[in-house]
């Protein structure tokens, strides 16, 4: 009942953890990823990534730029060139 989420920059692996939901600022609109999401790839515009550790919890926000999101059976992977926060 949790989503495996990874945030990777060229310099390091920033996050690799189990979360409830992540809201990604896709280039064609924000989208939320929960567990069991269909395979999906999207470019990400520069903006805020919201990470919900559990349902209803206050989101943790990370600013990403130059990003790319991939949802596969292993969970969500966000590749970002720059990360703040």
């Amino acid at each position: 009942m949790s989503l495996h989420f990874e945030l990777v920059t060229p310099a390091r692996l920033v996050r690799s953890e189990e979360v409830h939901m992540v809201v990604v600022p896709g280039s064609e609109g924000e989208f939320g990823v929960l567990e069991g999401h269909a395979p999906f790839m999207s470019t990400v515009k520069d903006g805020v990534l919201k990470i919900y550790r559990s349902a209803g919890a206050a989101p943790e926000e990370i600013v990403v730029s130059g990003g790319f999101a991939e949802v596969g059976d292993k969970g969500l992977t966000v590749l970002a060139e720059h990360v703040e926060g």
Partner: protein, 290 residues
């Protein structure tokens, strides 16, 4: 025969050289560890991006309308050689090996009637290339201002290259750097970076992935990123190789200095003994004469 004083002076000077090479060796060993872990930390991103590129490349067919970074300019006349060197010396043949590889390639391309241009990264090696290809150097990137070349530098280099490519300054770009095998072995490597060589497509059966926007747009967006990561990876490999080469070179230098000190010390003792013996003989001869 050198006098005792001269010998002593030489021994001292070799000793201080040995101190320097030993210090540099230890610094290189510490930095090597750091450079290696930086290279390791960069691996996940490069791997994932390569995977995504491969699965995209399998879906998009290369045609005249595909992005120039992937399909090329259609010509093959002007080659740009991007040569990545280090900023510091004292690392053995590290820089000359890379330069040698680049010059070899340049000669080969010129024999085929192509135009060769150079883009230089790093301070060392600049002079060596300028000697033979003064007019061919079109640009360079100075990494002396930063302690370690990181992703920001790779980004700037890549952006500059892409701008030059888009302005039609060259058709093909090759990247020269040193691949890190171990502290003892570094391999000068050539890699074509522009046009981006199509990643070998991994066969994927679950082709139900949705793309937003479409595959082609994503690919266009990812190509410059892929290039940046390639350059970043090369810079990291280069940094690790430089430290490895430096460590080996300085280890050899320290050992050679030690040998030299031993040799000089023996010579010093022999001459000292000879001087004493002569003095004694003189005294005895003097006493006998009385």
């Amino acid at each position: 025969m050198a006098s005792l004083k001269e010998l002593k002076g030489r021994i001292n000077s070799v000793k201080s050289t040995q101190k320097i090479t030993k210090a540099k060796q230890m610094v290189a060993a510490a930095k090597l560890r750091k450079a290696q872990s930086a290279a390791e930390a960069a691996r996940p991103y490069a791997q994932r991006l390569a995977q995504v590129m491969a699965s995209l490349a399998g879906k998009v067919t290369v045609s005249g309308s595909s992005p120039k970074l992937l399909a090329g300019t259609g010509a093959d006349a002007v080659h740009l050689l991007v040569v990545a060197n280090s900023d510091r010396g004292l690392c053995g043949a590290f820089n000359s090996n890379i330069v040698k590889a680049a010059k070899l390639k340049a000669a080969e391309l010129e024999a085929q009637g192509k135009t060769v241009l150079f883009y230089l990264v790093g301070r060392k090696g600049r002079a060596q290339i300028r000697r033979d290809f003064e007019k061919a150097i079109v640009g360079g990137f100075d990494t002396t201002t930063v302690r370690e070349a990181g992703f920001n530098e790779a980004e700037k280099i890549a952006n500059e290259l892409i701008a030059m490519y888009e302005a039609g300054k060259f058709d093909v770009a090759h990247l020269f750097y040193s691949k890190f095998r171990s502290a003892l072995v570094q391999e000068p490597t050539v890699q074509q970076i522009i046009p981006v060589p199509a990643p070998t497509a991994a066969v994927q059966a679950d082709a139900v992935t949705e793309y937003e926007p479409d595959e082609e747009t994503i690919l266009v967006e990812l190509l410059p990123r892929y290039l940046r990561v390639q350059i970043f990876g090369a810079l990291l490999e280069n940094a690790a190789s430089e430290q490895g080469a430096s460590m080996t070179a300085m280890d050899n230098a320290t050992r050679n200095a030690g040998d030299l000190i031993n040799k000089l010390t023996i010579q010093y003792n022999r001459s000292r003994q000879a001087a004493i013996t002569t003095e004694l003989i003189e005294i005895i001869a003097g006493a006998e004469a009385l």
